[in-house]
Structures are given as structure tokens and as C-alpha cells.
Amino acid sequence: MTPLSTVPFPETSFALMLMLLLVAPLAIAGLALVNAGLGRSRSAAQSMLGTLVVMSSAVIAFVLVGSAIAGASERDVVFHAAGRWDLAGAAHLFGGGLSSASSRMQLELFFELLSAAMIALIPWGSGADRLRLLAGAAVAAILGAVVFPLVAHWTWAGWLAQLGRNFGIGSGFADGGGAGAVHALGGLAALAVIWIAGPRKGKFPREGLSTAMPGHNVVYVLFGSLVALVGWVAWNLVGAMLWMATAPSGLVPVAVNTLLSATAALVATFSVTRVRFGKPDASLCANGWLAGLVTSSACAAIVSPIGALFTGLVAGIFTPLLVELFELALSIDDPSGAVIVHGAAGLWGLIAAGLFAPQPGQTVAQLIGVSTLLGLMLPFLYGIFWLLDRVIAFRVEPDGERLGMDLHELGGNAYPEFVVHRDESYR
């Protein structure tokens, strides 16, 4: 495992990775379906349009500004004054120099571009049914321009990746598929957004338990989970080749581990919900499946199949329990469960990758990465979103929430022929 390897790619590897990167957006499409299905029917069109809006916002911000910060170490010319602390890249702004860059750098940029699109989607799902489109786009722009590029640089080229080389800590922070830089960071951003936006109206009434607001289309949710699998396998394979120096001959175990993590997590969630509620819960099972995929982003290129199985099982057990804890005990309204599915599962995947990695000291390297995400990025995200909320209000007006985001923001419903029933959640 040498994450900083700069071995040039043969043309066949370049072609293979490019093909895989063209399949990887299916993970984003799957997540978009899951987000839309877990929201309410009167916000479905806004959710899907919002997916395109936040993706566009994040991608443009990343190309204009973020790619310069995220740039790999070869492109760095400043911020190296402190020697072993490579804090930010210094590539060209506005995507300049892309056509003349090496094939590896072009692939890295494309991978990071897709990652920026993915990370923008995570808080958007959590803010469903009350987060305004403009606010979602602004959050995505900040993530794509500054926050994600910084963490991506640290993870894949900067000081975290160089922990092994500079400080003798394992092989440095290892995160081939972006469990930390994309998913955990996105989950923490989602937590900050929903803390600031607050819960949906009627979710936590004055008396009694929280109101159940089930997703409006479980078929979307489950089909989205299946679609996400295809993209996720491609994503992990490219990540393993790009950042973990996995040869094409070593890709099958990565794909197997990805599938094992997801399936083990699904079986665990299915069993836990069966025991807890008497019947398996479909939307929680989808959350468990996605949590397994998220853990695989960190582990798939490092651990053995048994390790991947165990990691997925643990993720599948804690996902439904934490979702329940968040809603019932902590009063955190997260319709898509992204804080658990991406945040908690991402952090667990990073730790598990260290526990099961063959290199001594890898656990410490992984914990340093986890500490950076949790201790530095969460307060930073909360602070920056709190300021943003003062400029562009995150939450829609009460009347808009009552009407539904589709009517309020788009002027039309996703399902105009549906019979609308009285909303029982408004007490």
C-alpha cells in the first residue's frame, strides 16, 4: 500500500480508469433516488431538481477554485514552507493547464470533480422538505470551492497522506474511495446543515414522541440503492488504482470487498430491524446497504474479505440503532439518514481500515484522519454555514413548508394527479 506512488500509468490502465469513472456517477444517481424517495411526495421534484442544482454548483466551484487547492503534490509550489506540513495545493485557478497535465493528474481531477458532486448531494438529502434551493446551491458551492478541496488535498496528497513518509506513522492516512474526504465530510456537513435549518415542521411536537414521516416512495429508495452499487464498485476500483497504487490484476478483490461490505450490512440491518420492530424496515435496510458501501470506500482496497464482511456487519448493526437514537433521543431530524449513513459509517470505515490493515501503526494514521475530520472540519463547517445562513436563509418560510417545496419553489407538483390527503403531522 503506497498511496503516494507516482508510477506512470500505461495507456490500458488509463483507458480502464476513464471507463470506470464514466460509470461512477451511477453512485450519485442512486443517492439522488434514495434522497427523493425518503422525502415527501410534495417535495420530490424539488429534491431531484435540487440534486442537479447542487451538483452543478459544486462542480463549477471546484473547477473555478477548488481544483487549485486540491491539486496533487506535483503541482504544489507554495504552502510547503513548513516542510512536512503540506497544507494546500497551488495549481492553476479556473481549471487552467488541464489539457497539458499528465494522464494521472487528469484522472485525479476527474475523480475529485465527481467527488465534489457526490459530497454536495449528502447535506441536500438531509435538508429535504425545508432546505431552499438557493441555500442548497450555496452550501454546495462552499463545499466544492474550499472545504472538500482542502480535505481532498490532505487525504490524497498532503500532510495526512504523507504521515507515513514524514512521521513514520503506518503508510499514511489511507482512504482510497473517499470514505473520509467525501462521505464522512459530507455527513458532518449534513449534521451542520440540519442543526442550523432545524427539524421539519411538526416533526417534534410539544408532547409525545417524534412524528413518523416515512419516505414517500420506498421503491425509489431500494432501486436507488441498487443503482448506487454499480457506481460504488467503479468508484472504489478507480480510487484503489489512483490513490492506493493497486494494479489492475488486484482489482477483483476490491470489487468483492465492496459487495461483501454492502451485503453484510444489509443482512445485519435486516436482522436488527426484524428483531426491533417484528418486521424488516425497507428504508432502514436501504440505509444499512448504503452504510456498508460507505465503509467499503475506506476498506475495500486494504482489508481481506473477512475484514470487509465484519466491517459491513458492524455498520449494518449500528445504522438502524443510531438512526433511531438520532430521531427519538437526540431530536435530530435527518430524513435521508445521511449523518449516520455517510458520517458515522465513513468514520467507522476509516477506523476499520486501520484495524484490519497489515501495516503496523496504520490505526494511528487512520485515527489522525478521523480526528481531523471530526475535530477540525465539523466546527469549521458549522461556523461557515452559520454565517451563510445569515446571508441566505437555509429554511423555507413556514407557508412554503406547509404547501410543499414543489409548489412553493417550483410552482408545480411532482405528481399532479395524486390525491392529496390532509397532513396528519401538523398538530
Binding site: G168, S331, P360, L367, S371, G375, L376, P379
Partner: protein, 59 residues
């Protein structure tokens, strides 16, 4: 209370950074890094408790 929790969390991160700079032994480093993560988790717990208090007051 929520902001106090969030303010404590970076202290855990700097403890982790201190572990990298100050210690070369694997055991000492691991212990210090674990302490840093523990401080962050405590900060997060305080922030969540603060959030719950605010929610109860606003109900």
C-alpha cells in the same frame, strides 16, 4: 452549551497534532491521539446535549 461543545472539539484535534510533533514512540503517540479523539467526542456530546436543550426550549 452547543457552541462550547463545538469550541472544545478543535482542542482535541490540536492534541492529535501535538502527538505527531512531540512523540516519536508508537505507544505514546497512539495514547495521545486516542486522548485527542476522546476530547473531540466529549465536545460532540456536549454540542448534541446543547442542541437537545435548545430544541426542548423551542418546542
Amino acid at each position: 452549551m452547543k457552541y462550547a461543545g463545538l469550541a472544545v472539539m478543535p482542542a482535541g484535534f490540536f492534541l492529535t497534532i501535538a502527538a505527531i510533533i512531540l512523540f516519536s514512540g508508537a505507544g505514546q503517540r497512539a495514547a495521545f491521539v486516542l486522548c485527542g479523539v476522546a476530547v473531540e467526542v466529549m465536545g460532540l456530546v456536549v454540542a448534541v446535549r446543547g442542541h437537545m436543550q435548545l430544541r426542548d426550549e423551542n418546542r
